[in-house]
């Protein structure tokens, strides 16, 4: 990805997340609050720096996108109004919106569920993991 492209991609992420990553003071309260921290290869507070540094390619490839729960713990507690959860979601959107970007296919569903799975689980997983 050329530097102009990653610049546009970074701007796109800032735009669709509606947050300003430059307000971050690197306190790490998001990462301290994140229940999925252990599973994340790029940690919540790093997401913000990746956008600032326009390293979008790494974000697009990272595993963290599929572990963020959108539980808003980081959004609620961020003292700088950066709301890292929204940045993660924006990065995930840029991936799933691309062709072949789906993280979940309908074919794999039967193997993943049991009889009690509420519809809500499928609906929300589809909404988060697919276009």
């Amino acid at each position: 990805m050329s530097s102009t492209n990653s610049k546009t991609a970074a701007a796109k992420i800032a735009e669709i997340s509606g947050t300003n990553p430059l307000k971050c003071m690197k306190c790490g309260k998001c990462s301290a609050s994140c229940p999925a921290f252990e599973k994340m290869d790029i940690k919540p507070h790093q997401f913000v720096s990746y956008v600032v540094n326009e390293d979008i390619e790494a974000l697009a490839k990272c595993e963290s996108l599929w572990y963020c729960l959108s539980c808003f713990a980081c959004v609620e507690r961020c003292p700088r109004d950066v709301k890292p959860g929204k940045i993660v979601d924006a990065a995930r959107q840029t991936v799933v919106r691309q062709k072949g970007g789906n993280y979940l296919s309908a074919n794999e569903i039967p193997a993943l569920i049991d009889d009690d799975v509420p519809q809500q689980l499928l609906v929300s997983a589809f909404r988060k993991f697919r276009r």
Binding site: C27, K29, S31, A32, K43, A73, D81
Partner: protein
């Protein structure tokens, strides 16, 4: 030959980089009435001023326009310069080409164009200026200090030592303020009380200092040199003159449920109380919300045990009116409420405390007699976690936008004191940045790490969870290690942000001193006049102006005192000659102007007027120029346009409007 001289300053490159100063000079020369125009590197310098003086003398200038920085910066400089050269100082106008032009615009064409217009407006105005002579007013040789913490005490002592009378108004029953609540002070670990109480005693014993404790400022009127202040002395229900301070009443008082303000609400105090043992004055007050006698006319025990007969349940608030030449605001700070930080479990667990509460726990006169123990079960803690920046440096609507400045250092102090006294206690500090700019400050913090083995972890804590076993889990992160941490703690100490005392808003309004969005009082100039408010005669001491530690507060207190002394040392003050003036010929005495005057400066007289040979007596408005502060409210209220403001006359302002819109 009279005419106007225009002097354009480069201000180094501050103006010249964005404004073509030569062009401004050229254009100025084309304006009617201008007989001289020049530019120079630094007009405010000795050489620059000499150029102005020389032009005034040689060309017999009748008006001067200096195109430079803000008039709030150098108007006085250039007025003095003109006066020395023989020109009335009020024949000088400033065109603000720096703050309001070159610094805010980037394009040199735009900047130059605007500079020319601003200069043109100043020329138009100055051509209508009239010579004004400042009047004089007296100075009441007494100062008022609002707030009796270390800032107020130090200011009062310094003023009193110079021989002037000072009154301290303190809202609580004793002077001493927040410093009296502290156990030790950084970075030298002096005992706070040991260095503060002698100053409190000095203040109380000083013949020039009068302390109004348990009192509040109620009303302020007047102006620099001549303020009139109403002070409400709240009913103490104890006669100050009779009380011997024996303390028998406090011991016997059966109502002991009120939370001790001095001990940050960690234990109780009686309804009749002094905040702490070394209180000054050592005269208790009765808290009417707690006293059984005052609430439902039962008890009366304190009156019975008082051998001096000092208890007086009938006492009422008293208003004292005093005159002052200068007023110092030293209202100090409070720790913020932690309602917005429930993730840290402050309201859910007794073992999550603020740093100020820790001060009281560590203090020998505190609720635990200085033993470090958990408030929930009295057990000695083994692991203590400190969380920095709680409510400071926030961009959300929960916290404060500023750095509270003192927290990094007092946390290092707490960590050292704990590790020193209890070496088997583990101390972890979660920080975002450690800020230690100050003499011996960083060395002090390094000692905490290197000598005392305090574990500093970079990363803000997300949540504190109380556990079923009574311990606390601190959910943090080590950003340098990129690891999430769960630290087991017995006690968690929050470095909560500080904010100006809530009453400062009201006081600022009474003093017409402006406050910023965080309720800190605005200084007259952020760099050059940091202890003065923009309102003449009102000075600032301590945290009311911005977060400060003790040494800074004491320095500022001394600086404020010097400013007050400088003012009180004068016998006369020059008054602002830009006052209102009525045209006697046209005034019909309708009273519209007097109705809007906030100073009562306008009265009416029957005057014999000679109107084109017709002599008649009629009622006209007369402005007392000693009282008039020059706001101009009356000028607009006047239905016939008779009232005008000298220095900002209708014609002058219209000339500026016309010049800008030309």
């Amino acid at each position: 030959m009279n005419g106007i001289g225009v002097f354009v300053c480069h201000c180094g490159s501050n103006i010249a980089a964005t404004v073509d100063v030569k062009k401004v000079v050229e254009m100025a020369k084309l304006e009617p009435g201008v007989v001289h125009a020049e530019e120079y590197q630094y007009m405010c310098s000795e050489a620059g001023q000499e150029r102005i003086a020389k032009a005034i003398r040689e060309k017999n200038l009748s008006g001067v326009v200096v195109c430079s920085c803000s008039p709030r910066m150098h108007e006085t400089t250039f007025r003095k310069c003109a006066e020395k050269a023989g020109l009335n100082p009020y024949m000088v106008e400033i065109a603000n080409l720096r703050e309001q032009c070159s610094w805010v615009h980037k394009d040199i064409n735009e900047g130059t164009e605007k500079a020319v217009i601003l200069t043109r407006a100043a020329i138009a105005k100055v051509s209508l200026n009239t010579s004004l002579v400042a009047g004089e007013s007296g100075v009441t040789k007494r100062a008022l200090v609002i707030g009796g913490g270390i800032a107020g005490i130090q200011t009062a002592l310094d003023i009193a030592d110079a021989g002037y009378e000072v009154d301290i108004v303190e809202k609580t029953p004793s002077i001493g303020g927040k410093m009296a609540q502290l156990d030790k002070t950084f970075p030298t670990l002096d005992c706070s009380a040991c260095i503060l109480t002698p100053k409190m005693v000095d203040a109380a014993a000083h013949e020039k200092i009068n302390i109004y404790s348990y009192s509040e400022v109620e009303k302020v009127s007047g102006f620099v040199g001549d303020f009139t202040v109403d002070i409400r002395k709240k009913a103490r229900y104890v006669d100050m003159n009779k009380c011997t301070g024996c303390g028998a009443c406090m011991e016997k008082c059966p109502s002991k449920k009120a939370l001790s303000e001095f001990n940050s609400g960690l234990n109780n105090r009686p309804a009749i109380y002094t905040p702490f043992a070394q209180a000054i004055p050592n005269v208790p007050v009765i808290d009417p919300s707690q006293c059984l006698k005052l609430k439902n006319d039962k008890c009366g025990l304190c009156a019975r045990v008082c051998q001096a007969g000092a208890i007086d349940y009938k006492q009422e608030d008293e208003i004292v009116t005093r005159k002052y030449g200068a007023i110092v605001v030293a209202t100090g700070f409070e720790v913020i409420k932690l309602d917005n930080y429930d993730e840290y479990a402050y309201s859910q667990s007794k073992d999550v405390i603020t740093s100020l509460e820790l001060e009281r726990i560590m203090n020998a006169a505190g609720p635990t007699k200085g033993h470090l123990e958990r408030l929930s079960d009295g057990k000695a803690p083994k692991n203590i976690v400190f969380i920095q920046c709680v409510g400071s440096r926030c961009a959300d609507n929960k916290g404060k936008s500023y750095c509270s400045k003192i927290c990094c250092m007092y946390t290092a102090k707490h960590a050292i004191l704990i590790r020193d006294k209890y070496p088997d206690v583990n101390v972890t500090v979660f920080y975002i940045d450690v800020r230690t700019p100050g003499k011996n400050f960083d060395e002090f913090y390094r000692r905490a790490v290197e000598e005392y083995g305090v574990n500093y972890v970079k990363g803000q804590v997300g949540k504190v969870t109380p556990e079923p076993n009574g311990k606390l889990t601190v959910h943090g992160v080590d950003l340098l290690d990129n690891k999430q941490l769960k630290v087991e703690a017995d006690m968690v100490v929050l470095a909560a942000a500080i904010e100006p005392s809530p009453e400062v808003r009201n006081i600022a309004t009474m003093l017409t001193a402006s406050i910023d969005t965080n309720n800190f009082i605005t200084e007259a100039h952020p760099k050059l006049r940091p202890v003065e408010s923009p309102t003449a005669g009102v000075f600032l001491s301590g945290v009311c102006q911005g977060p400060k530690d003790i040494p800074e507060t004491v320095s500022q207190a001394g600086a404020a005192a010097v400013k007050v002394i400088g003012l009180l040392a004068k016998d006369k003050l020059l008054t602002n000659p830009c006052t209102a003036k009525a045209d006697e010929l046209l005034c019909n005495g309708c009273s519209a102007c007097a109705n809007v005057c906030p100073y009562g400066a306008i009265s009416y007289e029957d005057k014999l007027i000679n109107d084109h040979g017709i002599r008649k007596t009629h009622r006209v408005a007369v402005v007392n120029s000693a009282l008039c502060q020059g706001c101009g409210a009356c000028t607009v209220a006047c239905p016939s346009g008779v009232m005008d403001l000298q220095g900002f006359s209708n014609r002058q302002i219209i000339a500026e409007v016309d010049a800008i819109c030309r």
